[in-house]
Symmetry: D3
Subunit: 285 residues, 6 copies
């Protein structure tokens, strides 16, 4: 969850990165008394995300700046649409402009891409999930954008949930140990709030994992027909996650196999910043 | 400059973001005594950047991990090339894997894209420059990647240099004030280490700006033939920067007009993360 | 998980709280060259916990101090047993003494109390779990002590897992909404890594909750015979947690009803600091 | 002193420890518009402490929450008494509940225990003092609770005051040096604001220490009659502190020997958290 | 630039340095309800600087304190002049007094000394500049005081501008390399916002440096007649800075040689704190 | 006390203030492989202070730099004396030079001035003490320099000791209350480690203060003969501090009146930075 404290910390740090000793241009060229009105406008269509972050960029620069949003997070917009109006001291508006845009363009880009994936799976029960392939130190922002685009979040971090992959399974069964037994032991030792997910690469791996009563099975890079077989075999006894080879062309077909969730690294990894701009008018006293 | 302190702070924060209370999977599935060998391999060609950051991801997780780089920053690599070998406690290697990749894929992506722009301007005197359109709180990392790709850095922040754009010029000349006089006044009031750059949108704006003896003139969104005229008019009396409408198709022609530097937002704004992977082998004692 | 970073941060803060401007007594009464040998001794029997924390208190005061542990975390000890030997500059040993003890006595107290609860449920399948009733900013330390005493951890924080209590259920079913339907909806909206636990106060609440396929049902303050009935009704379809009215007299009987886990606030809330002491010998050069 | 800054830092850290990424339960089960009224009620009698801390837990979660206290710090209360009323957004009230209670129960527990000790020494001139046996990083909170219970504070930290114990005295007199002379030398070298206290274990140690004109002499683990003798010998020439073997049974007799102050580790070390609860009512819009 | 954030951070840290656990004197001797009126008065003439910092010292101690300034930064004052009036809770006013004065006396001292240098160069085109010889961690405060005294700022830090001194030039020309060529190469590799200044010790060094088209040439420790020759030789092709041997006796003559800027370490290095005092009246309720 | 942690924090912050993004001059003009030898030399005589801080400036810039001190803190030196030798990577030595000097020149200046005061009182029992008139956030550094110059420290902060001045006394005796009684009450309420000092302006104020058994009486701005009378009246029953009008001309006479300690704001407030320099030789590989 994107808490107020986190927004203040991260946006504050970004503002200081961009103006550690103030904005020399505003300071020397714009009178302290000049005021600005700025309009955030969409240069292309998309889904909005990041209003709290956009507002914070201006408010943290100068608390007297007013930001009026004309759209809510999660709503679609068209090219040319006015998304927000900012009014306040011209120096502050000019100083905060780039950081406000840098965050919002990124978040809108992710929300827009997520919405495209979600549209492709409409009519199925599948949910679109993010991954840990996020920008360092911006994970909470990018996960919020995924939610705003209609997606759902996967685990937040390595501390939340166990995900056993091929390397882990190899270690677990070294020396001929029985996979089901070992997974059951692990499950009994985990903190009570921690789910156990296991990634399998082949259909024949499903049975022993399912027998261990795990919470989620991830079918990794399965062909479509194998996905269908996997879903049938698991038969609702745990959550089925599809992963690997997911793109806007394939996601609809994957969803139709009946999987519960589809995780898509591209949501955060490959989203393009959306083209938004600020039209600024300055009035001198 | 990407200092050791900054790398430690930012990579450390990213590691804590990804495992605030440790990696439950490694902790419960991998014995403390197991060791891993991992190879960083390129899945596509590119230019390398970020070795100090990649190393830090592992070292900050567990100082006994060894990372041997097989490539230097700034060197090109081919698909399939082995870029580094990591050896150490398996738990630590698995925990640090994703964060090491997240940073390095991003930096290699930027270096690779920069190198493509640089290749297009070869044979001209033009330098390729980055902009302030960087990922929040990762600017120093992304600027280093631009250097590794053969580019050069623009101003670091709003505190370093004055860049007067259309809004600023309108304020400066309000009430019929003379632009040259005003720019000269500003110049005399700036800290001695601060350069003065002015952005112009039309050829006829060049003369009064040039007369003020500014350090850099940016010709924004000029047609190619206007760029040439501008370069001739300025005639080496200050640095000429081209900006706007720059892409891999246009950059070569822009360079041939004789401008000194070309700033490209896309270097950091639109670079795609390069596809790198880690092949891990775990040995149990 | 109690990471090295967290230990360094919290123990470092505690050392600064106790000597923000150094230890005036050591500084003015003990020569810089004097050396000390100190033995950590048990004044009463217990289960050990906190060796990494104890070591850190001395090492962070002065890195040249050596601490040799004679016991591992999780092992029992008798009154009078020597648990560790510390050697190093006398000033540092004296300065760190109280903070080392404050942490270790607290952690051993929790481990020892946990071990008593665990002993009472031996022979049943029930696990003993901690709660969120921990000392502010010491939760990870106290959870580790519970593990060392043979217990298991519950959720780490409000961010990890949903626990729906009476207030939440009232909100969910306001206006006559169906509890099962509502819980199913919530479940489908949660991040994939987040478990759903529901607390019930009466037997008749179990059926609609169980029908929603939740991860854990907590039977709160149930009489022993109702616990047995609840376990039979749930019949392994989800984890059963008992809570409320748990003490060393009742816990064995509760375990015998067949519940999976028993959460005990007293483990961290009411554990008494164990009586440990440091016997110090100082040698002057 | 418990400053506002310290309360904000420590309570803020505790709230983040308990909900680093927000409270998933409130977020998914409670509408953002729902409001709550909560009453803090005593489940057993005691002395109140920690109102500023209790208020901060809610205010730092959400500044619009209102907390009205019905009791002042230092006042006694009976079982069932209403101590405070909280009104505000239901999500915030539920999120802050546990942390508010964790701090307040601990502080009330210490104030209540301190008041019991103070009651036992009524009619004598003795003051009850705390020690450095406090919870790591909560010392200022626990010292405030001692004040609220009618006690007085000892030194805050190792930086404030010299306390020379047996080990220090042994070092000081090594090689046959004269104790009085050495203590006088130490005294002349200390910062002017730093008091000198010396701990003695036997009556015959008093004379040479007293001759050095120290500020406080601690009579450690003295039998009652020896305490009386010590008090007579010192005869008001410095403060007399009793320590060791102090409990609710012995403290009154110790006070009657005429000592000035009695330090009691148990105030902070062994105080039980008082049983307080929050009765919450949620209204949906 | 002295940002609000920096003032809050640095003044806040100074307040905590001076009262880490509160002001025991105010707490024990002044009733919480007592109010104070204090007047900041000049005990000697000077130029004012630091009003935002002075205000912050009181506001950060207690936000209800009111500070009314009777003078603006940069204005001169006479001995005995009332500079500000402070009203608020007496405890807070007394606690903040020393820190408010420590900062303001220092800043006024620097502004006053700077104004003396500026007066000496009146009628010439020379600007008076500060250096990096500032108090650790107070550079932005001291630079602001230089501005308030009528001076101008040099580079903020080592990250802003290249300044090549004798050691650097020796390295650059090692092995007989050509200085002009090397300086041109360096210039082409610098970030676009970074100026290049070169320090020369003798007149004959000017020619090759000037040929490299650098931004600033510093004539270090030049005799007056050599300064004049240097200015003539450079003839406006770059900025000329004089440095070394500058004091209130010499600065006027140096300015008359026609140099553009004169850097003076003494502005921050040797400025004496100005004598200001606070006259406090306390009213009890 | 100047702890290692504090040195690392404050010197580290100063290094970042001076090179937030690295030293562009070293980076672009000095090869990474070049090595430097630098000698710290005295340009005037003095008393040394700050070796740990000087070393830290280089070590924190680059841990491989070696600093060999040729003098200990507290020792006198003559003009021209070599005080330390630094060897290491040339970039790091050049980057750290100014910060190393800024701290050391300041500390040596204070130690040297203190030593002059101490020399003036030789043969009397008086100690020279510092005050709270220190540079913001450098108090521990400046107090250490006072110790190195042979002085003694006063209270560290407002939290350590009560100092009741005229304003406080007026509040205490408002409504005709008896001063002695009120001071005794305050004394009984203070934490046991906190001393009580009272400042008096006239001889007749001494008696009621002395009767309250306070720890220190400060005779503020007393004429020499009144100081003598005060000392006689107090007759060793508490510490006598002289303050006000103290300079190198008067301090000897003040000491001869028999006061115990003399506090001198000028030690930290008016000490001039001592002239030290670094002679650097760079070798290229």
């Amino acid at each position: 969850m994107l808490t107020e404290k986190l927004i203040a910390d991260v946006v504050g740090a970004a503002l200081r990165e961009d103006a550690p000793n103030g904005d020399v241009t505003s300071l020397h060229l714009i009178p302290a008394s000049a005021r600005a009105t700025a309009v955030l406008a969409a240069r292309e269509p998309g889904v909005f995300s990041g209003s709290a972050v956009f507002i914070a960029a201006f408010k943290l620069t100068e608390s007297s700046v007013l930001v009026e949003m004309h759209i809510h997070d999660g709503e679609p917009f068209v090219a040319g649409q006015k998304l927000a109006t900012i009014t306040g001291p011209a120096r502050a508006v000019l100083t905060a402009e780039r950081i406000g845009l840098n965050f919002t363009q990124r978040m809108c880009g992710i929300a827009t891409l997520t919405a495209q994936y979600v549209a492709e799976v409409q009519g199925t029960k599948a949910n679109i999930l993010d991954t840990r392939k996020t920008t360092p130190n911006l994970r909470a922002f990018e996960r919020q954008a995924v939610l705003d685009g209609g997606g759902r979040n996967h685990r937040f971090s390595l501390s939340d949930m166990v995900m056993a992959k091929d390397n882990h399974l190899a270690v677990l069964t070294a020396g001929g140990k029985d996979l089901t037994t070992e997974l059951r032991r692990v499950k009994s030792e985990l903190p009570a709030g921690v789910k156990l997910e296991v990634e399998v690469d082949r259909i024949d791996q499903i049975a022993p994992v399912l027998a261990a009563d795990v919470d989620i099975i991830m079918l990794d890079n399965f062909a479509l027909e194998d996905l269908s077989k996997g879903v049938q075999q698991i038969a609702g006894r745990c959550i089925v996650e599809a992963s690997g080879g997911v793109n806007l062309q394939t996601v609809g077909k994957i969803a139709k196999t009946g999987v519960d969730v589809i995780s898509v690294g591209a949501l955060t990894h490959s989203a393009r910043a959306l083209d938004l701009g600020l039209d600024i008018t300055i009035e001198q006293p």
